[in-house]
């Protein structure tokens, strides 16, 4: 329980006394920087700042605790750069114990956590660096109407399941609108993960994605890589609607840390084939960050080999403060 519980206690005393009695943590991360995007003026941008409350509660059960987690955007720059003030990020409740963890609400899918997140070594959100290169983001990153279960750690092995139940007010569709099955295995600094997921729109169009990731840490050096493949019956792409779209991405990253300074880089390749458009994009980025207690400064540059509207060349000098 952090010192910021005092703030919570004050808020709780005014509004909901029960919150103050919970084992809750108020946390946040302010991330602001000057960005220079190719063919555009320099701009002060919010880089995915957020604030949240999370914690455990006693359910009166042996070995099982209740949990809750809320998180929202804090927009530190102008409103059109990255989300709205207090825009929704996470909001779920659940329970955890020796048997694992279950949660319901708006949350990350295992696919994002296991396949996409290990490559999230750059500070600004992946959206800034080309959402297109993260195939799991659109259907599996902070998704509403989700139920998840994560098994306990079984000698390094852990498995995950998730389901999306998004009723539309009538009984015209299947109750289950999406699912995700994933697993990871960790041993001696090596983590392997695999995930497969399907999402079905009200129209009946399906989006299938699968991916694998590997992460290895040896002393100050971390290496990570992923491969994702996604097939969509119908895909929105630069104002067009593509049919039978097949996308695949592979990415490799490395991070080297000296004291409190980290140097990192990544390379990613994206391919698309569909009835109307085929494409092949490459993207690379380099960065350095230096931590100072709960603060951090960073410099990052991402280069794209094409004039992709969703992934332009971008350089960021950022400052981050966490509490």
């Amino acid at each position: 329980m952090k010192k910021s519980i005092i703030a919570l206690a004050v808020a709780g005393a005014m509004t909901a006394p029960m919150v103050a009695q919970a084992d809750a943590t108020l946390y946040g991360s302010f991330r602001i920087g000057v960005t220079a995007v190719k063919d555009a003026d320099a701009d002060v941008s919010d880089l995915s700042s957020r604030v949240g409350i999370k914690g455990d509660v006693d359910l009166g059960l042996e070995d099982t605790k209740g949990l809750f987690h809320w998180e929202a955007n804090i927009n530190t720059a102008d409103s059109d750069t990255y989300g709205q003030m207090f825009g929704k990020r996470l909001g779920y409740a659940g329970a955890k114990g020796d048997w694992g963890m279950a949660a319901i609400g708006r949350q990350y899918h295992p696919h994002y956590l296991l396949i996409n997140a290990p490559l999230g070594i750059f500070n600004p959100g992946s959206g800034s660096y080309g959402e297109r290169f993260f195939l799991g983001n659109s259907n599996h990153k902070r998704v509403d109407n989700t139920l998840t279960y994560a098994s306990p750690n079984l000698s390094g092995f852990q498995f995950f399941v998730a389901a999306v139940v998004d009723g539309s007010g009538d009984d015209a569709d299947e109750d289950l609108d999406g699912h995700n099955v994933a697993a990871k295995y960790s041993v001696n600094g090596l983590t392997l993960a695999a995930s497969i997921a399907t999402t079905e729109a009200d129209s009946g169009d399906e989006s299938d994605v699968w991916g694998v990731s590997v992460k290895y840490k040896i002393n100050a050096l971390e290496m990570m890589a992923r491969y994702e493949d996604r097939e969509d019956d119908s895909l929105s792409f630069d104002g067009m609607t593509l049919a039978d779209a097949d996308q695949d991405v592979w990415e490799a990253g490395v991070r080297y840390t000296v004291g409190t300074t980290s140097f990192y880089g990544r390379f990613s390749d994206y391919e698309l084939s569909s009835d109307l458009v085929d494409g092949d994009l490459q993207q690379w980025g380099i960065g350095v960050q230096h931590k100072m207690g709960h603060g951090m400064v960073f410099l990052e540059h991402v280069n794209n080999d094409s004039e992709d509207v969703l992934a332009t060349d971008r350089t960021v000098a950022g400052y981050r403060v966490d509490f």
């Binding site: 000057v34 000296v258 300074t261 350095v288 230096h290 400064v297």
Partner: protein
């Protein structure tokens, strides 16, 4: 009486042996002393009648904060050379830290005018190509006083060439701006030396030569030259 004479003789022999050893060592490191002293006099004249008065004027006109900014600016440019030379010496961590200094000082430090990296805890790791050659085992060669540039050795003098080639000032296209930067850097360097030149005593030529050679030997080994773990 006889004993006292013998003692005097022993003292004389010891003194002559020691001084001849010192002279021999001096001749080995500085065989071109005639040329060097001539160049030294030339540089001293240049300094006395041109550089030092200009530098004093610069210090009077420029506010202390401005002087510090100018010094930080050129120090930041020096981290380009530090990055390459640390890398060439196999000091990967120091090369990366020099690169981090360059990045943070150029952006957060407003083009290097403010050294934000040092208070952030990223130390400067100064290296030049002369030191790189020394690390690779290239002997220093004779002491050499270069016109305009001052104390050096054959190795360090040659090392100035690759350092100059990666010097960011050299990359400035506009000749006027480039020469202005070169001049400002010379004045900045001289103003830094104002503080330490008061320490010089005795023969100035010998003092500077010995100080230079010792400092270079220290820098090349990063201060580890005289440490031998087998002595302990």
């Amino acid at each position: 009486m006889k004993t006292s004479y013998a003692r005097w003789m022993v003292a004389m022999v010891c003194s002559m042996t020691l001084s001849s050893a010192v002279i021999a060592e001096e001749q080995a490191s500085d065989p071109w002393q005639g040329f060097n002293r001539a160049m030294f006099s030339f540089n001293e004249g240049l300094d006395t009648y041109a550089l030092k008065p200009i530098t004093k004027g610069y210090q009077v006109v420029m506010p202390d904060l401005g002087e510090r900014g100018v010094n930080n600016f050129f120090s930041n440019l020096g981290d380009v050379s530090n990055t390459f030379n640390n890398l060439l010496q196999g000091k990967v961590d120091d090369a990366l830290m020099s690169l981090a200094r360059l990045g943070f000082n150029t952006t957060f430090g407003l083009a290097g005018l403010i050294d934000v990296a040092t208070p952030m805890g990223i130390e400067k790791k100064s290296e030049d190509f002369g030191q790189t050659l020394g690390t690779w085992g290239v002997a220093s060669g004779p002491y050499l006083v270069l016109p305009f540039f001052g104390p050096s050795t054959v190795r360090d003098g040659l090392g100035r060439i690759p350092d100059a080639m990666i010097d960011p000032v050299m990359q400035v296209d506009d000749a006027g701006a480039r020469n202005a930067l070169y001049t400002l850097r010379v004045i900045d360097t001289r103003s830094q030396l104002m503080k330490v030149e008061k320490l010089i005593s005795g023969d100035k030529y010998t003092f500077i030569r010995d100080a230079y050679l010792q400092k270079r030997a220290y820098d090349i080994t990063d201060g580890a030259e005289n440490y031998d773990s087998s002595n302990f």
